[in-house]
């Protein structure tokens, strides 16, 4: 057992809030680097944390993070997801400097963090990877030849990447080198490495992943699957568990495959093994994410577990191993990622200030966020505002609750994808669970047309009356002033 009373969260946003809450529950002080720009708006959200002013580059600066953890007398570091969460050098730097890195050992991260090596490990574990190759050391001609030998379309992706950053689908040999150039540039900006990888694009694929947790002594369990097939720009926007196509038999097969992979690398803690599943339900190893995932709450809701608490308990040396047969899922959970982006304009980011913000609440509704009214979504970071997680006794029930939650999530002042998510939710194919990663592109027009553009003049009355700074409406007839405001007049209260 280790004494840990202060933990550095090497992250920001909703995952920093999620980790902070888990730490505070265990009476551990979360220490949080916050940039000058975000300071004001972080104060109300992280008022129960130790906040430290830091430069904008902090979340990618391994040395500065280690120095900060030491200066703040932290005994451990939680990396969250993104940024340096899957950077083995950062994990190594923490370990060398006497800090516990809340994640797998640097060696396991290094093995799995590299896509080419991870594929070799999968093969060793008797799991087929998606056909592909690393472009490292190949010249332009060789790259084209190898791509043609696996067959177009192909996907170009960052070797160290995740979350769709630095990933591009290429239809024919002509676009390949451009896509590689773009991926390299995005990859260096986001992951600090420009290594890229080319892999076969499976038609009509589903993206299904297995949550694993390795308890001390090599006891690895799988905690069900998550269907993460609804994606835009190769980034997940809706996740659910269980998957509409995974039955108990397939779950066990995929789960055991994931556990074998984790065991080969001596994994510790929470991890996710991602698979591509084709139309015949064959599954191929895609990659392993050696960290907590954005969509982890979906699993937590179905299995009634707290994965972040397990991570912390594992670091403290007090985690209680749960046997596989005790992990039983119940009901159905879904997560909807709310982004500051405009679906009508190719999901272009739409940063800006949130003027009104009210999160939905009710049975089976969980919202993960780190914003408040008045928060600004800056262009510097990922544009995710919040995650809406719903739980129901069935998929239908979860969808009912999702509709209520999304409808009652108020975010005014910036454009978000909230209504777009509602359109997906009402689409017959989504409701029937007929999903593949091309869903959004295929139904783009239907989803767009489904947006009700009808003119209801009632909304104008509401806008005009609420535009008035006091929100009050006059008794009797009034007209707007030169600023477009209706003069405030006291309303008689009946």
């Amino acid at each position: 057992m280790v004494t840990i009373d202060r933990v550095l969260i090497a992250n920001r946003g909703e995952i920093a809030r999620r980790i902070a809450t888990a730490l505070i529950e265990k009476e551990i002080i979360p220490v949080l680097p916050v940039t000058e720009k975000e300071w004001q708006q972080a104060v109300p959200v992280f008022k129960d944390c130790r906040m430290v002013k830091a430069p904008d580059s902090i979340y990618l600066d391994s040395e500065a993070l280690v120095a900060l953890a030491q200066a703040e007398n932290c005994q451990a570091v939680h990396p969250g997801y993104g940024f340096l969460a899957e950077n083995a050098e950062f994990a190594g730097a923490c370990e060398t400097n006497g800090l516990i890195f809340i994640g797998p050992p640097a060696r396991a991260m290094d093995l799995m963090g590299h896509k080419e090596r991870a594929r070799e490990i999968a093969k060793k574990a008797d799991v087929s990877p998606v056909p592909g190759f690393s472009i490292d050391g190949l010249n332009e001609l060789e790259i084209k030849e190898r791509a043609e030998s696996i067959g177009f379309p192909v996907l170009v992706k960052a070797s160290l990447g995740g979350g769709g950053k630095g990933m591009r689908r290429v239809e024919s040999p002509e676009g390949l080198l451009d896509a590689i150039r773009m991926s390299k540039s995005e990859s260096s900006a986001y992951f600090g490495s420009d290594e890229v990888f080319v892999e076969k694009y499976i038609l009509k694929p589903r993206h299904i992943e297995i949550q694993i947790f390795s308890f001390p002594g090599g006891r690895t369990v799988y905690v069900g699957e998550r269907e993460c097939t609804i994606q835009r720009r190769h980034q997940k926007i809706i996740e659910e568990s269980p998957s509409p196509v995974v039955d108990e038999k397939l779950r066990r097969k995929m789960g055991e495959a994931a556990v074998r992979i984790a065991d080969i690398v001596g994994y510790v803690g929470a991890g996710t093994v991602e698979f591509i599943v084709d139309e015949e339900l064959n599954f191929y190893f895609l990659e392993m994410n050696t960290r907590i995932q954005v969509e982890h709450p979906v699993t937590e809701e179905v299995f009634g577990v707290d994965l972040v608490a397990w991570q912390i308990e594992e670091a403290l040396g007090i985690v209680e191993a749960i046997p596989q047969q005790k992990l039983k899922g119940a009901g159905h959970a879904m997560e909807f990622r709310i982004y500051a982006e405009d679906p009508a304009q190719g999901f272009m980011p739409s940063p800006g200030k949130i003027l009104r913000y009210v999160e939905p609440a009710g049975p089976g509704i969980r919202v993960e966020s780190a914003v408040a009214e008045g928060s600004e979504i800056f262009a510097d970071f990922d544009p995710m505002i919040a995650k809406v997680v719903v739980k129901g006794h069935s998929r239908e029930h979860a969808m009912e609750r999702a509709r209520f939650a999304l409808e009652n999530f108020v975010i005014l002042g910036i454009t978000t994808n909230r209504e777009f998510l509602m359109q997906i939710l009402s689409h017959p194919a989504f409701q029937a669970g007929e999903l593949d990663t091309g869903f959004i592109d295929r139904y783009r027009d239907e989803l767009k047309n489904a947006v009700d553009a009808s003119i209801e003049p009632e909304i104008l009355l509401l806008a005009a009356s609420l535009r008035n700074p006091t929100g009050k409406v006059a008794q009797g007839s009034v007209s707007v002033d030169e600023n477009g405001y209706y003069p405030p007049v006291t309303t008689r209260i009946p």
């Binding site: 900006a189 272009m348 108020v410 003049p457 909304i459 104008l460 509401l462 009050k472 009034v478 002033d481």
Partner: protein
């Protein structure tokens, strides 16, 4: 004179009033009334949908824009001053502006270049994503006030394109 614009249409609103929890007014000559619920300060907090079910309503105002969320939908309504000019008059304007704040990664055209509508002129990075900014019209690039590496605000001018028809004459 205030003009109300919504979904690229102009509206005239008169006789707005609230009496006995009924909000009413005349929109483009048509009188409308709507059952509402107000809080103790008199602010409207919900309004009935066509089935009579009260639906929460929230609003926020930024300069000339008012955002209203009602029945799960957000509407952006513009209350602008002045009567000159029409909505959508920017059609045919060759200003290439930044759709959001970000960094200039690459300028793919320079002053004097002949460009086509939808040709990529600028590559920007925002929120770690690369965004291509395209020419709104056919024409000639007449100016470019930004350089590679610049951080720009949303709506800032990146390039000016003069319409092609001036060349044909």
């Amino acid at each position: 004179m205030t003009r109300i614009l919504w979904n690229e249409q102009e509206f005239e609103l008169k006789n707005l009033k609230l009496e006995n929890d009924i909000l009413s007014g005349t929109v483009n000559g048509e009188t409308i009334s709507l059952p509402v619920v107000t809080d103790k300060t008199g602010r409207i907090i919900s309004a009935a949908n066509s089935d009579g079910l009260p639906m929460p309503v929230l609003a926020a105002t930024k300069r000339e824009y008012t955002f209203v969320q009602w029945k799960g939908k957000v509407e952006k309504i513009t209350f602008s001053r002045g009567r000159e000019g029409n909505a959508g008059e920017t059609e045919g304007d060759g200003s290439v502006t930044a759709p959001m704040p970000g960094k200039i990664l690459e300028l793919m055209a320079k002053a004097g270049d002949i460009v086509e509508k939808d040709q990529v002129l600028v590559l920007m990075e925002s929120m770690k994503l690369q965004v291509e900014i395209r020419s709104p019209i056919d024409g000639i690039v007449s100016g470019c006030p930004v350089s590679v590496g610049d951080m720009v605000d949303g709506d800032s001018l990146l390039m000016q394109v003069d319409a092609a028809k001036q060349q044909q004459q």
